[in-house]
């Protein structure tokens, strides 16, 4: 990408990719993607997160050109992609199963895109060496994919998608086949590689912790609709609806009815008769049904008034599960017995016994009143 194009992009304030009212159906009956509008900024790490069947992979495939849009348009650098075949889109892709070419060595796998893009022979070698150095696989040029471990194959696939310097790199659950430890290591590495190359990464995953670790922004998909598009902190701390709150991170859900309503606080009455103060997020008035969302870690165990808690209740310990760095404690409160809190190791509340009564509390700003879904 030349500098002049750079400045033009910045000057026009135009996002690199724009999905405009995109709809997609496979069978003519069900919309897999419903009226998608999404702008992808140049150089960002955007993750499409959602459960399977939410339309995230379809969205990625439409951008790559492997699926057509039923309605709407995708615009790359101000140009419609409708009639552009996949091999002319200048979009690199890392596939779930890596799709390395088994009859080629690592070197040949990386040379293939350079050949296709008519890079001169002399320049190829340096580019391949750079790409391999980036994924820390220097010296593996002569190996064939079958002679590499899963993690190494994944790195080669990444290097191959980067080596021809595409405008965008798409990744479809690339870490899905790796074991947990390697996956976490690769997440950090990918984040660093993204920072180094400065290309736009669009990443599809159903693993919320992976999305939180790597992304600049996350688009949470459900039912063919983007439920929320925000930075990881925003998404986790300020989910806009019940689906996002429940899908990302752990979450205690309390259903109730709004009794009093103001701009920054509302009073919600639970079926058990308790009244809780909460932050109204997507509720509009008195009488409405709502779901309250409380993250386990915002709940203060053994709360006293001086802790700054707005609401304090008495709960009965049901069960304690030791998790190493913290303990998960299941409590009975508000007539339900699946209220979970996290007690960090060394917080002085280690020895909670079943049947014991404790005081729990939170700030009303941490308790979010969301839609009833």
């Amino acid at each position: 990408m030349t500098d002049s194009m750079h400045s033009r992009d910045q000057g026009s304030n135009e996002p690199q990719v724009r999905f405009e009212n995109v709809q997609k159906t496979y069978d003519g009956e069900v919309l897999v993607v419903k009226d998608l509008n999404l702008a992808i900024e140049k150089g960002e790490f955007l993750t499409l997160l959602g459960p399977s069947g939410s339309g995230k992979t379809t969205t990625l495939m439409m951008l790559a050109g492997f699926e057509s849009t039923t309605h709407g348009d995708i615009v790359l650098n101000g140009r419609s992609l409708r009639l552009v075949p996949p091999h002319k889109r200048d979009i690199g892709m890392v596939f779930q199963n890596y799709a390395l070419f088994p009859h080629m060595t690592v070197n040949e796998n990386l040379e293939f895109p350079l050949q296709c893009h008519k890079v001169e022979k002399s320049a190829r070698e340096t580019k391949i060496a750079e790409a391999l150095a980036m994924v820390e696989l220097t010296g593996f040029e002569r190996r064939r994919p079958a002679q590499l471990s899963g993690g190494q194959q994944q790195r080669v696939a990444l290097a191959r998608a980067l080596v021809f310097e595409p405008q965008i790199v798409l990744m479809d659950e690339p870490l899905g086949a790796l074991d947990k430890k390697l996956r976490e290591q690769m997440q950090i590495e990918m984040k660093h590689i993204h920072q180094n190359v400065g290309l736009t990464f669009v990443y599809v995953t159903h693993d919320q912790s992976e999305a939180l670790t790597m992304s600049d922004r996350i688009a949470v998909f459900d039912d063919g609709i983007i439920q929320q598009l925000d930075a990881p902190e925003e998404l986790y701390e300020r989910p806009k609806n019940a689906f996002v709150a429940q899908f990302i991170g752990e979450n205690n859900r309390l259903r109730g009815t709004i009794k009093e309503f103001a701009e920054d606080v509302c009073l919600v009455e639970l079926p058990s008769g308790h009244a809780i103060r909460a932050l109204p997020v997507n509720v509009s008035g008195v009488g409405q049904q709502t779901t309250l969302s409380l993250r386990p870690e915002v709940v203060v165990v053994g709360a006293v008034e001086s802790d700054g808690c707005d609401d304090i209740f008495t709960a009965v310990v049901q069960e304690q599960i030791y998790m190493g760095d913290h303990a998960r404690v299941r409590l009975e409160v508000f007539g339900d017995d699946d209220f979970v809190v996290k007690v960090p190791r060394g917080s002085g509340h280690g020895g909670l016994e079943p049947g014991q009564e404790i005081r729990i509390g939170w700030r009303s700003g941490d308790c979010r009143a969301l839609d009833a879904a």
């Binding site: 790559a64 050109g65 492997f66 075949p85 996949p86 091999h87 002319k88 200048d90 979009i91 690199g92 892709m93 596939f95 199963n97 799709a99 390395l100 070419f101 088994p102 009859h103 293939f112 895109p113 296709c116 893009h117 191959r160 998608a161 021809f164 798409l170």
Partner: protein, 420 residues
């Protein structure tokens, strides 16, 4: 792990038996099983395949007709150096054996001599009828006596032909199968052009096999690709259509082409009716008919190995190639096709080698100029009872197949034939 007391000690199991012995005992039963499982097939292979080939090879270098018909003549002629005429003593031996021989006894020998010079057989018979007087002649008149019966006995070539047939082991038939013979100086020379047919037949066999293989490949590749990429439900149906020919006899399929392609056949009738051509075209009893029928019959042997390999190719590779900037044709040539190679190699080798030995189809739908080596093997083994030549042609065909296999191995590598 079982501890060893010292570094030089043998590893032992818990009850003190050395590990190696224990292992051998444990493995023995499995070995016996394996041998027992393989034995029936191995025996069958020896009796039904290896022994016939050995006897065929033997048959092609044996020349028993004269040595059994005229044993003493064969003996004395072998000692003759082949220059000019044999000694009168040798001629006398021949005359004597002719006079005492039963008719049936020298029939095969006379026939054998006839291979070399046509008309020799009747000449021998004619001579045999008068051989009693001939045998009584003194040595210095014996040659003239022969000439008196038939003037051709004055031609040394006839006498040489007898010598040529007088040794039990011979390269005569093998040379013949390559249109070669030995002249009187024992040099290998070509036979006269009117007798030279087998080199042409061999070249034609290779040509037809090559063309059939190529056609099968070109027709089979798209079918195999389709089979491997379509949804399973549809591809299973297609696969049955591909396999269907296997359920019909080869003869039935070939004769059905006869019905379709003959002058008053379906194709000609249809084309005439549609006005594609104005008079019936020769579609059969020529090379076209042979190609059509052979390609039809051999196509499944090309499609199945290719299909089984293509089925294992990750369909995402084509998408990956596209995302890396390769247009469809390039993705196919550089990414998909190289991965098909094991299947292509297996298919082409199978079709080519099967074609080399094809007999019934060219015999039924081909003209005289389209017959392959196998046809001539059958001709010689059956029709003319020239077993030596038939066996020699078989050997040449076997050798040709092996040579083709090795050339192929050089270029494609048989170790790539990994059909799943």
């Amino acid at each position: 792990m079982v501890a060893t007391t010292g570094s030089h000690d043998v590893m032992r199991t818990a009850d003190g038996v050395p590990l190696k012995i224990k292992l051998r005992r444990a493995e023995r039963m499995r070995k016996v099983w394996a041998i027992a499982l393989v034995a029936p097939l191995f025996l069958f292979l020896v009796v039904g395949f290896i022994l016939p080939i050995i006897s065929l090879l033997a048959l092609s270098v044996e020349d028993p007709d004269l040595t059994s018909g005229f044993p003493r003549t064969a003996e004395v002629f072998q000692e003759w150096d082949g220059e000019g005429f044999p000694s009168p003593e040798a001629m006398a031996t021949f005359a004597e054996e002719l006079s005492v021989a039963e008719r049936g006894q020298f029939g095969r020998a006379a026939k054998r001599l006839n291979y070399d010079i046509s008309g020799f057989k009747s000449m021998v018979k004619k001579t045999a009828r008068q051989s009693e007087q001939l045998a009584l002649l003194p040595l210095d008149q014996i040659h003239d006596g022969f000439i008196k019966i038939d003037k051709d006995w004055g031609d040394p070539a006839y006498w040489y032909a007898i010598k040529n047939a007088s040794s039990y082991y011979t390269d005569y038939y093998l040379l013949w199968s390559l249109d070669l013979q030995r002249d009187q100086e024992r040099e290998i020379v070509g036979v006269s052009p009117d007798r030279a047919i087998y080199v042409d037949v061999l070249l034609r066999t290779i040509e037809i096999s090559f063309a059939v293989t190529l056609l099968c490949f070109l027709l089979g590749l798209p079918i195999a690709y389709l089979l491997a990429t379509l949804p399973t439900r549809i591809s299973n149906l297609l696969l049955i259509l591909v396999l269907l020919p296997f359920w019909t006899s080869l003869l039935v399929r070939t004769t059905s082409w006869l019905v379709l392609l003959q002058n008053e056949g379906l194709i000609n009738d249809l084309a005439l009716w549609l006005g594609l051509w104005n008079e019936p075209q020769e579609l059969i009893r020529n090379r076209f008919g042979v190609y059509v029928a052979m390609v039809h019959i051999l196509l499944p042997f090309m499609v199945l190995p290719m299909y089984s390999v293509m089925k294992t190719i990750n369909p995402w590779h084509m998408r990956a190639a596209a995302s890396l900037g390769a247009p469809g044709w390039k993705a196919f040539l550089k990414v998909y096709f190289p991965q098909c190679m094991p299947g292509v190699a297996a298919g082409t080798l199978l079709v080519f080698i099967l074609s080399l030995g094809y007999y019934i189809t060219p015999a039924l739908v081909g003209g005289p100029g389209d017959q392959m080596v196998s046809y001539w093997i059958v001709q010689n083994m059956g029709q003319t009872a020239n077993w030596g030549l038939g066996a020699a042609l078989s050997c040449v065909l076997l050798l040709l197949t092996l040579v083709m296999f090795f050339i192929y191995n050089r270029f494609v590598g048989v170790d790539r034939l990994k059909v799943n």
